[in-house]
């Protein structure tokens, strides 16, 4: 994937989501998007290489599958925060009022969204010829957390885990589970398809 191609996807498919999150919370500040975009692409390329070297022989031409690509995208976004949360964190400290996990984990949410969005491109391609399913993927994928303040539950655990990985600054090292997150993206895809099949069967 060239830088220009990544930039196009970022501008068309990721930036609108970042702007939506930003518009819904006045205490979040978007960083310099051009710089973020450039840095995220650099990190993605580096992570892909590191990961390929870890799991394949260095001379092997094997390519990463789409869930690992999604995982590398997720990691790159974790390494380069698109939001500055300083004002929001300060407000939470002063008021002791919780904010939605959406906003508290805004950077992790964007990472999750971006990874799933990349994954959805491949899903759409897989079902070429089945327009109804392709359209359903466009409407329902990425699967994203509901709006909530609870600190429990699956989605909060995922976001919390991503935040922990981000804060520990061990992405790309042995502690960062690019592989584990690839499995999570795989499971999200299965979950989506199974759920759709069940809905069709019960209709």
């Amino acid at each position: 994937m060239t830088r220009e191609f990544f930039d196009m996807i970022y501008d068309n498919d990721i930036l609108p989501f970042i702007q939506t999150v930003d518009h819904n919370n006045s205490l979040l500040d978007i960083k310099d998007m051009d710089q973020c975009k450039s840095d995220i692409y650099d990190r993605y390329c580096k992570l892909r290489k590191v990961y390929k070297d870890q799991i394949f022989d260095k001379t092997d031409e094997a390519l990463l599958d789409r869930h690992k690509v999604a995982s590398c995208i997720c990691a790159a976004f974790l390494q380069v925060s698109v939001f500055n949360k300083q004002r929001m964190v300060q407000r939470i400290k002063e008021t002791k009022v919780a904010v939605h996990s959406y906003f508290f984990y805004a950077n992790e949410l964007v990472a999750l969204y971006a990874a799933n969005r990349f994954l959805s491109f491949f899903m759409v391609m897989d079902y070429r010829g089945n327009f109804e399913l392709q359209r359903d993927i466009l409407e329902k994928f990425p699967l994203m957390p509901p709006s909530f303040k609870s600190k429990k539950g699956f989605w909060t655990s995922v976001l919390f885990n991503l935040a922990s990985i981000k804060d520990e600054d061990v992405i790309g090292q042995e502690h960062f589970d690019i592989y584990a997150y690839a499995i999570i993206f795989f499971m999200l895809e299965i979950y989506y398809i199974e759920k759709r099949n069940l809905q069709l069967a019960s209709a």
Binding site: M1, M123, M125, D126, Q134, K195
Partner: protein, 57 residues
């Protein structure tokens, strides 16, 4: 509506973690066009479907 959890999937198929797409999981064979170098093709298909859906709306 009951949705299977990870444990149930793994009970059904212990090799699940080795599979790389839903298609492969379902059909028990490798899925085509499943690597990072085909992302341009995948995105082109995605954009075409998006446009088709918008035109229909």
């Amino acid at each position: 509506m009951k949705i299977k959890g990870l444990e149930e999937y793994l009970q059904d198929d212990a090799d699940l973690s080795k599979k790389i797409t839903y298609q492969e999981y379902e059909e028990k064979k490798a899925a085509p066009m499943n690597s990072d170098h085909r992302i341009e093709d995948a995105y082109a298909e995605y954009c075409a479907v998006l446009k088709q859906a918008e035109d229909k709306d």
